[in-house]
Amino acid sequence: MSESSSPLRRDDVAKVARLARLTLSDAELDLFTTQLSQVLEHANDMNALDLADLEPTAHPFGLTNVFRDDVIRPSLEPESFLSQAPDAEGGRFGVPRILGEAP
């Protein structure tokens, strides 16, 4: 339980920002560290509880096995979205160079 009650460190926040693809200024890093800590403080009242016997809830009304039939439905006209793409070339979406392989 100690993990959750230790204060959030600036380092942690910086790491999270990278994971979330957000650039934070120093001032923002400090502010977020404080603000997020406060929210997580509140979360500690949950952590005081022993909820080991409870199952997490999936759908509140227990829906399962929802399917669609394997039929083909019309796709979008490429123009409808390519015309609004930030960068489109030859029917494809353009992006600046990718530095690493997919994880």
Binding site: R21, T64, V66, D70, P78, F81, G90, G91, E101, A102
Partner: protein, 476 residues
């Protein structure tokens, strides 16, 4: 198989991704089709547009179950999780996959050599889009920019993860080949590695026998069974060299270069990527009913191993050449034809040989071949009425045009000479060559060839060699 030096042993696990043969994608109705115009098979769902939601393709679940059953897995209630990471070919910047509760788990695959490889899981997930790279000779490294096509994004995949039970590159290859045969047999996949509908990554490590597992490297870009085998051998030796020099193996992903014949570093796995898996709240739990599972199991076709065993059972003491021929028959899917031929009285060994060799060039044609005609051709060859060469020729004509084998043989001039007419010619030649006949009668067997040659000349090659010898011996 490359022998590893100094008591080293390789430990290999394979991850195989296969695209499923559904009409539509996993979570939307876009067509699941290779090779269309870029971004012509996309919709708000697979394009990840704001507000879109996934709905699970029922047939994909059925195909996943078939795969699980063919691999002797337990089919269990499962959930879909989100695997969160940013990458341009991932339209939502998360992939819908399965995590701690996969649909299929704890199975195995028996290989033709009798060894067994454990299957840890075979779970469902969606495929990504495809990127092409501009500049830098088309490869990722050195490209200026990339272009993304999402036609493949959302195509259903099953990922099959083996246990690290494989101990040689040959075994790895056998595993991959057998798995491919199974995937095709279930109807779930077309197993086309060259088209990317089946992709293999290999995890390779080395150790001295009896020691704990070493650090493993993941090898990607294996586009054929041959690459798979070569890459594993290369990597095992690379790691051994490194360790024997006192170095350590770094856990990393490596890329196989088919041309250079080596693996090279793609990415060092220092910080394992944090995927922040959590259950996808847009989907509900999957629990295929027992009735559904039973129906799928009952309809499961025979797997290659079963089919192979059934054909082998028609042979008395199969030689290794015959077993190879059986393999070809199974690969071509022609065992039903072989069984029909054997049931109609055809000789099993000869049938298998002819199917594996002569019929292999055009298996579709083969399935429309008349069983009775094929059986007749086989017996004509066995009785000596046709030589092997002649039989193959008759067969080729039968394949192309159909017809009656005896009529075809006659039309080609292959018809068996009647014993009377053959006997008459032999008598003539004996009379014309008394000295030679005397020597043959006296025990000089070599002269059988002399007389056979004369008979062949006299009959313009139409006489059957065996029949000639029979006639000579009769008159001895």
């Amino acid at each position: 198989m490359t022998q590893l030096p100094n008591g080293w042993e390789m430990v290999v696990g394979l991850e195989v991704h296969t695209e499923l043969l559904t009409k539509s994608k996993l979570f939307c109705g876009c067509e699941n089709h290779f090779g269309n115009e870029p971004n012509s098979n996309v919709c708000p769902v697979c394009l990840g547009l704001p507000g879109s939601l996934p709905v699970l393709n029922e047939h994909a679940v059925e195909l996943a179950m078939r795969i699980g059953m063919a691999l002797h897995c337990t089919i269990a209630p499962s959930t879909f999780h989100r695997k969160n990471y940013f990458y341009p070919d991932q339209s939502k910047d998360y992939q819908i996959s399965q995590y701690d509760l996969p649909i299929n788990a704890n199975g195995y695959l028996d290989l033709p050599d009798g060894s067994r490889v454990g299957i840890e899981r075979a779970h469902m997930e969606e495929d990504t889009g495809k990127t092409t790279h501009v500049g830098g000779s088309g490869r990722l490294a050195g490209a200026d920019r990339s272009l993304v096509d999402y036609n493949r994004c959302g195509v259903p995949l099953v990922e099959i993860v083996s246990a690290p039970d494989i101990r040689s590159s040959a075994q790895a290859r056998d595993y991959a080949a057998e798995l491919r045969g199974i995937l095709i047999a279930t109807g779930a996949s077309d197993g086309r590695m060259e088209e990317g509908s089946m992709r293999i990554d290999a995890n390779v490590s080395v150790r001295k026998a009896g020691e704990p597992f070493g650090t493993r490297c993941e090898i990607k870009n294996l586009n054929s069974l041959r690459s798979l085998q070569r890459a594993i051998d290369y990597e095992a030796l690379r790691q051994i060299e490194l360790l024997e020099e006192g170095g350590t193996v770094r856990q990393e992903t490596r890329h196989w270069d088919e041309v250079m014949g080596e693996t090279s570093t793609l990415r060092v796995k220092e910080d394992a990527e944090d995927y922040r898996y959590f259950r996808d709240p847009d989907l509900v739990d999957l629990a295929p009913s027992q009735a559904w599972q039973d129906a799928v199991r009952a309809a499961l076709p025979a797997m290659p191993a079963e089919r192979r065993a059934a054909v082998v059972a028609t042979l008395t003491t199969p030689t290794s050449a015959q077993l190879d021929a059986v393999e070809v028959v199974i690969d071509l899917g022609l065992e039903r034809f072989v069984h029909a031929v054997v049931a109609a009285g055809g000789d099993a060994a000869l049938a298998i040989s002819r199917v594996a060799n002569e019929l292999a060039a055009n298996p579709e044609q083969a399935t429309s071949l008349d069983v009775a005609s094929f059986v007749t051709t086989l017996s004509m060859e066995l009785s000596g009425a046709l030589s092997a060469t002649q039989a193959k020729d008759v067969l080729a004509t039968l394949l192309a045009n159909g017809g009656d084998p005896e009529a075809i043989a006659k039309a080609k001039g292959y018809e068996q000479m009647s014993t009377d007419s053959l006997g008459a010619i032999v008598d003539e030649l004996i009379a014309a060559n008394p000295d030679e006949w005397g020597r043959y009668k006296g025990g000089d067997d070599k002269l059988a060839g002399f007389f056979t040659g004369l008979v062949m000349k006299a009959t313009k090659g139409q006489a059957n060699g065996k029949a000639v010898v029979a006639e000579l011996q009769q008159r001895r």
